[in-house]
Amino acid sequence: MALTLPPDSRTPLSWPVRPGNGLRASHGIARTLRVLLALALALWLVLPLVPLALWAFADRWSFPAVLPQAWGWGGVRAALAQGAVPAFGRSLLLGLLVSAVATPLGVLAARALAYRRVPLAPAVNVLLFAPLALPAFVAALGLNVLLLRVQVPPFAGVVLLLTVYALPYTSYTMRVAYGAHDLAVEEEARLLGASAWQVMWRVQLPLLAPALARAAFLAFLVGWSDYVITVLVGGGTIVTVPLLVAAAAAGTGNDATVALLSAAALLPPLVLLLVLGLFGRRPRSHQTNGDVK
């Protein structure tokens, strides 16, 4: 496995619990404890990222000062000097390529499985999920020799392996989407005079668009975040942002560079997550009104 991702990354910010619900009422100590627990969890989730924010623009922050003593662009300059910009471009390209390959392949596999057009479906299922159980370094370490002998370019090899490690996510996300997809709607469209091609473009695609966006996002993350496959199969020739972060973090005394590179590595996924949250939302299927059945 290259990464752990929740297959359904819809932001659960809205909840089917109606306000004023009697089960969720709490008072006094119970309420205080609950708020404290929530705050503790929030701290647990956000604390590990706090040093990044502080270090990124700290020029001087000697121990044991609690806050940086001088702010500045030293970290930026050091990061640029280490090739942050081309690395950023390579990472972006890798993420986009993996997404561009793994998403359609996942869609095709999921479609075939959902419509039961695959012989030996259980075995195929096991195989598509197998990358989750096989440590990424094993596949990379094993295939490295083979890919070198048949002279596959390192970049293509990295994309190939990462695609396979992204496929469980894309195919599973699309499997769920096809499972929830009501074929009767497509049949209705056919009866209303739409051709197979029109059904595909005007009915199926819009209905599956949110799932497609999620699948593409997950595949991008697999490519964007990878370290070990890029190192082993790329043989050190493909320097991506994670590799720069690792190199900087392994050394000493360049904490600001580490923080800045790390922050840069966080940006694209977070931007995409926001875009997904804003545009990838399914229309609300039911209104939480009085008589919800």
Binding site: S9, L37, P48, L52, A139, L141, S225, V228, A249, P269
Partner: protein
């Protein structure tokens, strides 16, 4: 239509394991003629048990931390209101953080010159959390990031069904704790088992966090494998493959055990 996905997955998974196995058995040497031998396994026989134990311990500790914190977070999220929304939003932001970035950041937080040491003004008495004998930094990184994973996955399960079952149970006289024990926990258990397996397998076979936040000796299996792989001596390559094969066996064993447990324990699905 599934053919391209099946073909490349088969190539990478089966091909990867086969080539790793072949290398570990001396059938794929960099130089010289191939010969079937278990010399690579024998060469690491003394270090392997330590590595196996350490890797399993790190994976188990990380899984426990992630599941405990993640399940609690899921319960808070399901409660709704601003508390739940805050935790849900932060959890969602944590998921796409690359592990190498998480590791770098945890190092800036927990190291002896890190943020926490500064905050508590510990001076020289700060415990060795990063690179220390207890692998606290490594477990903290996995536990932190994977707890967000567990929280979101369990929330997804609970979202679709838990609210109505929770209400039904309340009307049948079940108080908060009873509902947790008799309804929410059993309903989440299959999802929790699956997430725990995913986390266990991931932290067992992942390299960069343990490499960055760990210590030089003893080594977890992936770190050992990559060190051998990059070693100057050519004989180390088969040994790296041998360590990889051992890791794979452990990983597949954990998945098989989890699947067997799921099949045996669930009445439904």
């Amino acid at each position: 239509m599934a053919a391209p996905a099946i073909l490349i997955t088969a190539f990478v998974v089966i091909g990867g394991m086969a080539t790793a196995l072949a290398q570990s058995l001396g059938l794929f040497p960099l130089v010289g003629p191939p010969s079937l031998t278990v010399a690579a396994y024998a060469a690491q026989a003394s270090d392997l048990p330590v590595g196996i134990g350490l890797s399993l311990a790190i994976a188990a500790a990380s899984t426990v931390v992630a599941c405990l914190v993640g399940f609690t977070a899921a319960l808070v999220i399901v409660q709704g209101r601003w508390c739940g929304k805050l935790v849900a939003a932060l959890g969602t932001l944590t998921v796409p953080v690359p592990h190498i970035v998480g590791a770098a950041s945890v190092s800036l937080l927990l190291a002896d010159s890190g943020l926490l040491a500064r905050l508590f003004n510990a001076g020289g008495s700060w415990p060795e959390l990063v690179g220390g004998p207890w692998w606290i930094g490594v477990v903290a990184e996995y536990g932190w990031k994977e707890s967000a994973f567990v929280a979101l996955v369990v929330t997804g399960t609970l979202a679709t069904r838990a609210v109505s079952y929770d209400e039904t149970a309340a009307l049948l006289g079940a108080g908060r704790l009873s509902r947790l024990r008799h309804v929410l926990l059993p309903l989440s258990l299959p999802t929790l088992t699956v997430s725990a397996t995913i986390i266990f397998v991931y932290s067992l076979g992942s390299y960069e966090v343990a490499w960055l936040l760990g210590r030089a000796y003893p080594e977890p299996l992936p770190v050992m494998a990559l060190r051998l792989f990059n070693a100057a001596t050519l004989t180390a390559r088969p040994e790296a493959a041998a360590v990889a094969i051992v890791t794979t066996l452990l990983s597949f064993g954990a998945v098989a055990a989890a699947l067997a447990y799921l099949r045996r324990s669930t009445l439904w699905r």
